[in-house]
Amino acid sequence: MALKIVKGSIDRMFDKNLQDLVRGIRNHKEDEAKYISTCIDEIKQELKQDNIAVKANAVCKLTYLQMLGYDVSWAAFNIVEVMSSSKFTYKRIGYLAASQCFHEGTDVIMLTTNQIRKDLSSPNQYDTGVALTGLSCFVTPDLARDLANDIMTLMSHTKPYIRKKAVLIMYKVFLKYPESLRPAFPRLKEKLEDPDPGVQSAAVNVICELARRNPKNYLSLAPLFFKLMTSSTNNWVLIKIIKLFGALTPLEPRLGKKLIEPLTNLIHSTSAMSLLYECVNTVIAVLISLSSGMPNHSASIQLCVQKLRILIEDSDQNLKYLGLLAMSKILKTHPKSVQSHKDLILQCLDDKDESIRLRALDLLYGMVSKKNLMEIVKKLMLHVDKAEGTTYRDELLTKIIDICSQSNFQYITNFEWYISILVELTRLEGTRHGHLIASQMLDVAIRVKAIRGFAVAQMATLLDNAHLLTGNTQRNGICEVLYAAAWICGEFSEHLEDPMQTLEAMLRPKVATLPGHIQAVYVQNAAKLFATVLRKHDGETESQAAQETSQLLIDRLPLFVQSANLEVQERASCILQLVKYIQKLQQKNVEVAEEVTALFAGELNPVAPKAQKKVPIPEGLDLDAWINEPPSGSESEDEKPKAVFAKEEPKHSRSRHTEVDEKELARRREVRKQEQASNPFYIKASPSSQKVYDAPGVEHIPVVQIDLSVPLKVPGMPMSDQYLKLEEERRQKEKAERKKKEKKKKREKRGKERKADSGPESEEDITPAHQVDIVTEEMPENALPSDDDDKDPNDPHKALDIDLDKYVPHCRHLQFIHVLHIVMCRNEFFSKTEIYDFRRIQKKMLCSIETRLNQLSWFPVQKSSKHKKKKQKKEKEEKEKKKKKRHHHHHQHHGDAGGEDSVQNGTVEEEEPLPVSQSHSVSLKREVKVYDIQGNHQDESKVVVSVIFENKSDSFLKAMEFNVLDSLNSKLQRPEGAGAHDSLTVPFQLPPGVSNEARFVFSVQSIVMPQKLKGTLTFIVKSDESSTHEKLDFKLHFTCTSYLITTPCYSDAYAKLLESGDLKGSSLRLEGINMPFHHLLARICFHHHFSVVERIDSCASMYSRSIQGHHVCLLVKTSDQTVSIDAKCDEPSLLGNVLDEIKQTFSKC
């Protein structure tokens, strides 16, 4: 042993330590890679040794090499070894290496869980510290799940050193394992008032980050933060708090009003620029949120703009940059106050610093008007010419296009000018944005009808001009423009002056060097041009020209037939054959022009980019549902809930949906006919999509016909400048005319108030030069506008969007609690509101429920909202009152999206516990209420149903009345004196977004049959303008299972019961059940409220009792995917129904 140690230390003497390595690398500058590879070999040797010190040294060197960019992932396991060393020295090295090298994909992370847990609970705070630090870098969802509890405990550690680290790391844990947020939140909140300022600031940091994801949860903390803000002197903390308020104010305008004063005070008093900047930012956020409500906050805006102006004028480039950045935020809501600083911003365009120029460019976007657009773009074009570096030039290019095309070309008065700008931009070499220019050209040419003639002429010139073809087409993105040019020339070829020439240009051999997709367009549009040429020469007796054209195509097309690009090849050979055939016909003097033209007849309409996405999914279409029964072999436990839903769903929905569809179809057909009748060429946007493109003044800009048809060619002056001049002249002329008119008027109305006509031209005075008919893009009929489009499904923070106030069933009750959803949609809101995918609500709920189940060992659920507490209390009271208690569960949902008749509201689907809804019920957030009904069955004949009403709409709901149509067997208990059909008043009102619970007692006589009760909820929807009466129909479903109570039974009592002979038997066989026996039992227990009496191998006896005291006994046996259930009960029909329900449960999985 001693020898080994000596040997180890001798070995070490020859090892390189880190310093040696670094020095070595510096000494081997010319053959660094070779030197490092020998070092890595040495390190591999060192890692093989038993001595942990040697290993740690090796790992330390590896960490250095990793930083230099060498792959060290192969040593991950050795890093774990060093991490688990008991000595802090090595542990520290190990964790450092891990935090640098590990990422989510590192598989050895799995091995570290226990080690990290051990280190976290180490008595040495530095052990804990390094573990926490390491964890912050490489925490994975698994680690987060397993260690969340440990870290939570550390949040209350005695040492602030650990507490603050733990608090900060909790944020990482939340990101990876969002379910931990709910239980950890109260403790996090506690830390806001920690005696240690470091911990306090850590908690502020974390809550600030969280609040940026889902501010709503943290609104309740506002008073606390307000206190912190006014008392804190620590700028680090202050900035975070102010930032947090910036996130909260949009939700609560009153908070904003309260904030304005302390924030403006800070702005005036602070000397710290970072704080000042944060304050200005938050004031801007506040003002944005207030902009609708309060008119007299212009002083605050002025203050902000002034401060920002000072920042922009500062010599410090950083402040200049930030000033511009903040200015762009104001621009969105208060463009007027920013526009007055146009001079300053244009000045920034000339700044040396590219970042600042870019920011100034952003601002320009919001400053253009019809009046100054041409001027600003001219300035930008100058910059384009001067700009060095392609990135900045590309940025300018995109900005020019953005500025011009914004809000549907709102500011463009002269589209000829715009086309010439685009053509000028094509002279940029090496830009990546060729496709952008191309799409603009296409967009304008297609949507602005009046410009087509001009556009075609310009495009023909482009095609004819060889400059786009030269150079390396691979790198030169500008050749994309030719795609647009060729298409425009082909599609609108009737406007071409000399189609033959263009055709010739399009078939030059050099075209073959272009990228494949462009060639394909060339070939296709050559055919269109061919058709045009033929038509031009149609009727001429000597069709020499037409035949020449055919010959040209036949000569040139073979080049494309040989193309390596399949698309080009296919089109070319197709068209070549066509032309050959036509040539034959021509030689026989057959008139072909008409037929050839017919090939390209009809017009192509622009389609809105999101059109496909917005096509509503037909009702009843469920792409997730099985078409055929799934093969039983592939079943698995977790698929079960889906199947449960799918099977029962169609029964209720299909008939209804088809009916809706027919009606809907008829309506659509009608609408389409009308549209086509009124406009032979364009299918205008459907009513629903008009809202999307509702830019005033765009569709029908007033018409002033001024003849500018042939632009003058002024030598030595770029085209667009001419337009600028012409436009100015035009405006002058117009102005003069107007003046004349006004004078006339004045003369006529002499004596009346005199108008000052020397004032600046107002926006409205400028009339566009062209008759512009912007065709709106086509949208599918019945398109559903939605805000969902912009949400990034991959956002890592999305999962943190947890509503902490939302009701989550208490975990201990979970096995009894079933949930009923009724989701209602109302047709009249259909076009205005956002789509809300019902499935998402349910999945979210299910996730949280599942988590709860997984977390039974965790601490109790923290209830954060008031009504929840109330509910808990209620439940307690209930428990005291009633010995037997049972929650029953229905999972129902209801969707009605079509049809005018509200009677359809009545259909409610219901299914077994915990399903994942597969139905395609689309409902609306605005007017959706989710009901949680928990049936509380107790007593011989009484059943309590608790209903949670949640108002998901934006309107206030009041005067809610709950009514159920009694059956002979089940009756809603009404107060004495009330009639049998009277409604019960729900004892509360619901402001938007609030939920509350009400309980209703039902009396049930016989429990041997399942029951369905129809019910109606009526209420008044109160919005700002009006209040309307609404009603919502639903169904309550009492299954026989729901009358059973999980009752434990001892095996001797059970045996006696069976021996007594009072029970009648029945049996059930289930085939193809492919699940472990204990799962099967668990499922029966869970869904049907049985308890296991005894279990021997693959055989178990189970027991349950109904609320009226019926005994139900089951003997479950399984062999080879077959389950047989022998059942006995003193009430045969109850037993039959229960067995049916069990069968259903399993047939669905």
Partner: protein
């Protein structure tokens, strides 16, 4: 939240990299390459902020070293500059008039200091004294390693 912190020399040699979120090696390399290139070509006296993809890049040059941070959109750039400055002060305090070589040869110490100062992209300790104290205590626990490594000599 800060996403990453890079230290690199004027020649673009990386001296320290800290990732506050897990990135794949490929992404890391791409970020390092892009960001160093962008920062190094900046002319002097231009502002210290850049926009790179969805991140704000904040950098500052101290002698021959660039300190460079990637921030999320909501973060305060000026605060980050102060943060970088504080880190330099901490290094200075620990090494005593810190220079690039200190960081090269004791890169693990530079990491340890950073870990005491920032965790998971958030500031955990703004007091220089507390950071110094915890560094000292942790170092005293590491004495054996120090012996083994024989103190830096260069």
């Amino acid at each position: 939240m800060m996403r990453f912190l890079l230290l690199f020399s004027r020649q673009g040699k990386l001296r320290l990299q800290k990732w506050f979120m897990a990135f794949s090696d490929r992404d890391k390399k791409k970020i390092i390459r892009d960001v160093t290139q962008m920062v190094l070509v900046r002319p002097p006296k231009s502002c210290n902020f850049l926009q790179w993809r969805d991140l704000k890049i904040v950098y500052r040059r101290y002698a021959s070293l660039y300190f460079c941070c990637g921030l999320e959109q909501g973060d305060n750039e000026l605060l980050t500059l102060e943060l970088l400055h504080r880190y330099v002060e901490l290094l200075d305090q620990y090494f005593g008039n810190v220079c690039e070589l200190d960081i090269i040869f004791n890169f693990e110490k530079a990491y340890f200091i950073l870990d005491e100062f920032i965790i998971g992209g958030e500031v955990q300790e703004t007091s220089k004294a507390s950071v110094a104290k915890s560094m000292e205590e942790a170092d005293s626990l590491q004495e054996t390693m120090e012996e083994y490594l024989n103190k830096p000599t260069y």
